[in-house]
């Protein structure tokens, strides 16, 4: 029933972009939109859940840590074999160490967001500028 539109979308350079206020109540809308996009692309139900969680964690970090940013831009680039999602804010950035891959500490209340993003996505890349904000680019490949 689900038909792949990935190849068609490439021809028109498919980018779906969502811009939400940097507020907790809109993260659910981002999750819904990403779930819709991913299901169009024939991702499995498990992969769709991974994508939803990774995007939500990225948005949550923008809301909680990107001081001074009032909006979050979520851009989904559709390629035949993968979906690349960038999550960008224009707030105060953090140090590269905060975003580096590491295992979460035992019984620590925070520090799970970046770890989950890195665990759930195939490729994860942060671009941080203390002045202009943080851009997280993450990719998940379609399993065939």
């Amino acid at each position: 029933m689900r038909e792949s539109v990935a190849s068609a979308a490439v021809a028109s350079d498919g980018v779906v972009e969502l811009r939400i206020p940097s507020r907790a109540e809109w993260v659910g809308v981002a999750r819904l939109a990403v779930a819709g996009i991913a299901s169009r692309l024939q991702f499995s139900i498990d992969d769709i859940e991974d994508l939803k969680l990774a995007v939500a964690e990225a948005c949550t970090n923008c809301i909680q840590h990107a001081t001074g940013s009032d909006a979050i831009i979520i851009a989904c680039r559709i390629l035949p074999d993968r979906l690349t999602i960038s999550v960008t804010d224009h707030g105060r950035g953090t140090s590269p160490e905060a975003l580096a891959p590491k295992r979460p500490g035992d019984q620590q209340v925070g520090g799970l967001g970046v770890f989950l993003i890195r665990s759930l996505m195939d490729e994860v890349e942060y671009e941080v500028d203390p002045q202009t904000g943080t851009c997280l680019r993450m990719t998940k490949y379609l399993r065939s």
Binding site: V27, G28, D46, L53, Q107, G110, F115
Partner: protein
């Protein structure tokens, strides 16, 4: 995209409060979950069973609330057991290593008995 919280008394071998959560736990809804759990702990209930069977989604803020509650009840020799059957949510407890610090059960009965 919302959460409903319901608290019940369970009178078993070891009495406890059972907290039913229904919906999605994220950065928007987790304050409501935290408030409910904090209220119970403040009122002296240190043995908690949190039923996640009707939770379709949980993120790191939700996990943070659960971890925070566990730490608080442990200070009073209490514990938090979880009921969880959803494979996607189990996977998140796996990935994060939280399976090692929470008792996670397939049924509410098992979660209550093993407090």
């Amino acid at each position: 995209m919302d959460i409903a919280v319901n608290v019940r008394q369970h009178d078993g071998q070891r009495p406890c409060k059972v907290v039913d959560l229904n919906g999605e736990i994220d950065v928007y809804t987790s304050p409501k979950v935290k408030e409910a759990l904090t209220g119970l702990i403040d009122a002296g209930h240190y043995d908690l069973v949190i039923n996640l069977e009707n939770v379709r989604y949980i993120d790191s803020t939700g996990l943070g609330v659960l971890i925070g509650s566990l730490k608080r009840v442990r200070e009073h020799a209490g514990t938090v057991n979880l009921v969880c059957t959803n494979p996607q949510i189990k996977k998140i407890f796996d990935i994060t290593g939280l399976v090692k610090i929470f008792g996670i059960y397939d049924t509410e009965a098992a979660a209550c008995e093993n407090l």
